[in-house]
């Protein structure tokens, strides 16, 4: 159920070398996005464990966004494929917990993608707002 004035809490997994500088640049340019967006930076988006994603939902995050390296990844040409597998795996786990798979989203972000990041956050917030808070679903944290 959509709630009025609801600002969905989003956990972003970004990468040290590629997407994080893009997110930093959004701040530098004072391009505003929701203050309920929190970022964890890792070496590569292919290294995100589904259990971390599940932990986020358990702790009250309404959505998880993966700012992936895509074809820019300097570690693996198959980075997008690997990251996608992680999402598929996570969505399987999410369904088991009655969490809408739309609550996870991935997009490739480059080191200067300040505007795309802000626009992704806006769009994802809108989708999550329509879904409402995770707690309003029949979600059962373990």
């Amino acid at each position: 159920m959509p709630t009025e004035n609801f600002s969905p809490k989003i956990l972003v997994f970004s990468t040290d070398k590629i997407s994080d500088p893009g997110i930093d640049q959004a701040g530098l340019r004072k391009l505003h996005y929701s203050p309920t967006v929190y970022v964890i930076s890792l070496p590569c988006s292919s290294g995100i464990k589904p259990r971390w994603i599940m932990r986020a939902f358990e702790k009250g995050f309404d959505g998880v966004f993966i700012a992936a390296d895509g074809h820019e990844c300097s570690y693996s040409p198959k980075c997008a494929e690997h990251t996608n597998t992680i999402i598929v795996e996570s969505q399987k786990m999410m369904r088991e917990k009655n969490i809408n798979p739309k609550r996870i989203r991935m997009a490739a972000l480059c080191s200067v993608c300040a505007e795309p990041f802000v626009s992704h956050m806006g769009n994802f917030s809108k989708i999550l707002s329509e879904l409402g808070s995770l707690n309003t679903e029949e979600y059962k944290p373990s």
Binding site: K9, L11, K17, I18, D20, P21, I23, D24, Q25, A26, G27, L28, K30, L31, H32, Y33, P35, T36, Y38, V39, I40, S41, L42, P43, C44, S46, G47, I48, K49, P50, R51, W52, R55, A56, K59, G60, F61, H71, E72, C73, S74, Y75, S76, P77, K78, C79, H82, T85, I86, E89, S111
Partner: protein, 656 residues
């Protein structure tokens, strides 16, 4: 578990504190488990604060520190240094980004920014609680370098590496050194011939006794890791074994080869590529003759094989506009009365190369702009090419040009054997098929393979000067790391929990760097990580069905505790409003600033003073006074009233 943590929350002048209530957060964080010291500081990165942190660490026996300030990209190194100087392991330090990702991004919502900062700092404290003391991996390094490819970049880099005292092995596939420059004729700017440039480099190279050049040589096999690579080179059928500390790849590029029928290529002998045309001009004498017929009109078609929105090569090759215009000028210089048409999409002669464009225009070269959606059409009447082109600068009027020769200005593409080299050295290849550096701006010549560097046009289209610059920067990077004879690697690598591991091979299958191999341990097979080749990317971790892999510094405990930190509820009170507009409020607000600011302010209370006078009055080093006075001035607490009698120093007073 760290139990004596110091937390420092930075005002960053006002960059953070204008929006985030850092004073309140400083007080709140003091109540967190394990936090012994919690302070809000004006500039966390200032010398004064660094000294204070070291003092706190020693006095309060802190075992970990958190600094909430700007992006970790800026100051992680600074504060790891502080930790190290105070005797704490640098990996027991965490930097929290409350500037770029909080105060600046949410300057429109200060209260929400403070709530977010609370979560971010809590996460930082949680993470550092679980942080581990990691030791950098130190390995011995051979002071020898293999340079693969002896084009202009490889030759120049080899000279520099040798000059800096390294043994250099220069490996060239062809029978002679020099690569593309050797046959490129007259070069822009200096007017030298490419062969002259190469000859000069080769003479210098021969005089150095620590360079070995191998021509007709192919890289056969490479093993080992940074510091100790073992390379097998096939030199004319003979196998040579080299032991080097690092590898610089300068294998260059190929020219785009037009497809049959592309702008009439191969349908007529009068459609040729720019490199072939340049040879014709170079070798021509008196009259320009092609296929026994004099050439009076030349039509250059630009962007052939480049900037294809629907094709393979989406990029611009940067050098070809200049190369075509330079070719045209050479043509005019050598042969009288030859007309040149330039059919272009956009002219990209940047920097000093723009002068060539001006010169060519003055010489009467005709420039006709077309668009990708309506490219010129080359038709043959007999053997003579006719070109139909819509001129976008004159209302898309269709023109028909008859030219004796059509020159296809072809760009650079990745070498056809780049896959083979990438396979052997494991350098990642980008979608443009050139080799990929870690980051085009921040790490432009490093690859993710430790010890393997790239330079020149093998990483993307470049002109000669840019190629040499990048190869030299690769050489400088290599020398900086191997000169000591040992290398320190970041300890961020994957590690295996032997109890949980049941060797299913999944981790090794996804590892791009062959860093995981099976090993027998306590009667069972488990995975083992080669820490000198592991890049710490973590791709292996999520695929493990038993969660037996973690990457140091990004462990489950660290990441999950961060998530918990973000999620914990915040009890933030609205900030008390102070009137910041009056000078008295400004002076009072110094209460939250470093003590030295208050001391300086009280010294200026009686009368305006210069920096040496303040130094004398308050007896603190002139450097420290200078830095703080400058900062106080910048943030409007004090102002200059003019210069002193000798007109050397400004006299400062408290701002009214």
């Amino acid at each position: 578990m760290k139990q004596r943590i110091g937390v420092y929350i930075c005002h960053c002048g006002g960059n953070i504190s204008d929006y985030v209530d850092v004073e309140q957060l400083g007080k709140l964080m003091a109540n967190e488990d394990g936090v012994i010291v919690s302070k809000d500081v004006m500039f966390a990165c200032s010398d004064a604060n660094q000294k204070q942190m070291i003092q706190d660490i020693n006095e309060k026996q802190l075992d970990a520190i958190v600094v909430a300030s700007c992006s970790p990209k800026l100051h992680t190194h600074t504060f790891r240094g502080v930790a190290e100087r105070a005797g704490i392991n640098p990996y027991n330090y965490t930097q929290v980004n409350v500037r770029e990702q909080c105060s600046w991004a949410h300057s429109d919502k200060p209260m929400d920014a403070t709530i977010k900062a609370y979560g971010l700092i809590r996460a930082g404290i949680n993470r550092v609680t679980h942080s581990e003391a990691l030791e950098s991996i130190e390995i011995t390094a051979q002071k020898a370098v293999a340079v693969i490819g002896a084009g202009v970049s490889g030759l120049r880099a080899a000279i520099d590496l040798a000059r800096m005292g390294n043994q250099v092995y220069l490996i060239e596939k062809e029978a002679e050194v020099g690569g593309r420059v050797l046959t490129s004729g007259k070069l822009f700017m200096t007017g030298e011939n490419g062969k002259e440039v190469i000859d000069r480099l080769y003479q210098r190279l021969k005089q150095m006794n620590n360079i070995n050049i191998f021509t007709n040589a192919n890289l056969d096999k490479i093993s080992g890791s940074f510091g100790n690579f073992f390379i097998d080179v096939n030199v004319g059928g003979e196998l040579l074994k080299l032991n080097v500390g690092s590898v610089l790849v300068t294998t260059g590029f190929d020219f785009y080869q037009p497809k049959e029928g592309e702008y009439g290529y191969k349908l007529s002998e009068n459609v040729i590529t720019l490199p072939d045309f340049n040879k014709l001009v170079e070798n021509g004498n008196g009259k320009l003759i092609h296929n026994g017929k004099p050439v009076k009109t030349v039509a250059y078609i630009y962007c052939v094989g480049n900037r294809q929105s629907k094709g393979e090569n989406k990029y611009c090759s940067r050098h070809c506009c200049t190369a075509a215009i330079h070719s045209s000028l050479n043509l005019h210089e050598k042969f009288d009365g030859v007309k040149a048409f330039h059919l272009y999409r956009d002219i990209r002669t940047y920097g000093k190369q723009e002068l060539l464009y001006q010169e060519s225009s003055k010489k009467g070269d005709i420039y006709i702009k077309f668009e990708e959606k309506e490219p010129p059409i080359v038709e043959m009447k007999g053997n003579k090419p006719f070109i139909k082109v819509k001129d976008y600068l004159t209302s898309k009027k269709e023109l028909t040009l008859d030219a004796d020769l059509v020159v296809l200005v072809t760009g650079m593409v990745a070498r056809s054997d780049s896959n083979e080299i990438s396979g052997k050295l494991k350098i990642p290849i980008g979608t443009d098929k050139f080799f990929n550096e870690i980051h085009p701006k921040l790490k432009p010549v490093e690859t993710v393979i430790k010890g393997v560097y790239i330079g020149g046009a093998c990483q993307g289209p470049k002109n000669i000067s840019e190629s040499v610059q990048s190869a030299l920067s690769g050489a400088a990077k290599i020398n900086a790391v191997i000169r000591k004879g040992s290398i320190e690697l970041e300890p961020i690598v994957a590690r295996i929990n032997p109890e949980a591991c049941a060797w299913c091979n999944k981790c090794s299958e996804v590892c791009e760097f062959d860093a995981i191999k099976p090993i027998e341990s306590n009667g069972k097979m488990i995975a083992e990580v080669n820490i000198s080749t592991c890049t710490g990317c973590g791709i292996c971790a999520p695929v493990c069905p038993t969660n037996a892999i973690e990457v140091a510094h990004f462990t489950d405990n660290e990441i999950e505790s961060m998530i918990d930190g973000f999620a914990s509820p915040a009890n933030i009170a609205p900030r008390e409003q102070t009137n910041q507009n009056t000078s008295s409020a400004k002076a009072q607000s110094l209460a939250g600033y470093p003590k030295i600011w208050r001391t300086i302010a009280s010294a200026l209370n009686d009368k305006p003073l210069s920096i040496p006078q303040i130094t004398e009055k308050i007896n603190i080093s002139i450097q420290e006074v200078t830095w703080n006075v400058m900062t106080m001035n910048r943030y409007g607490f004090i102002e200059s009233t003019g210069l002193d009698g000798d007109e050397v120093y400004h006299i400062y007073k408290l701002k009214k």
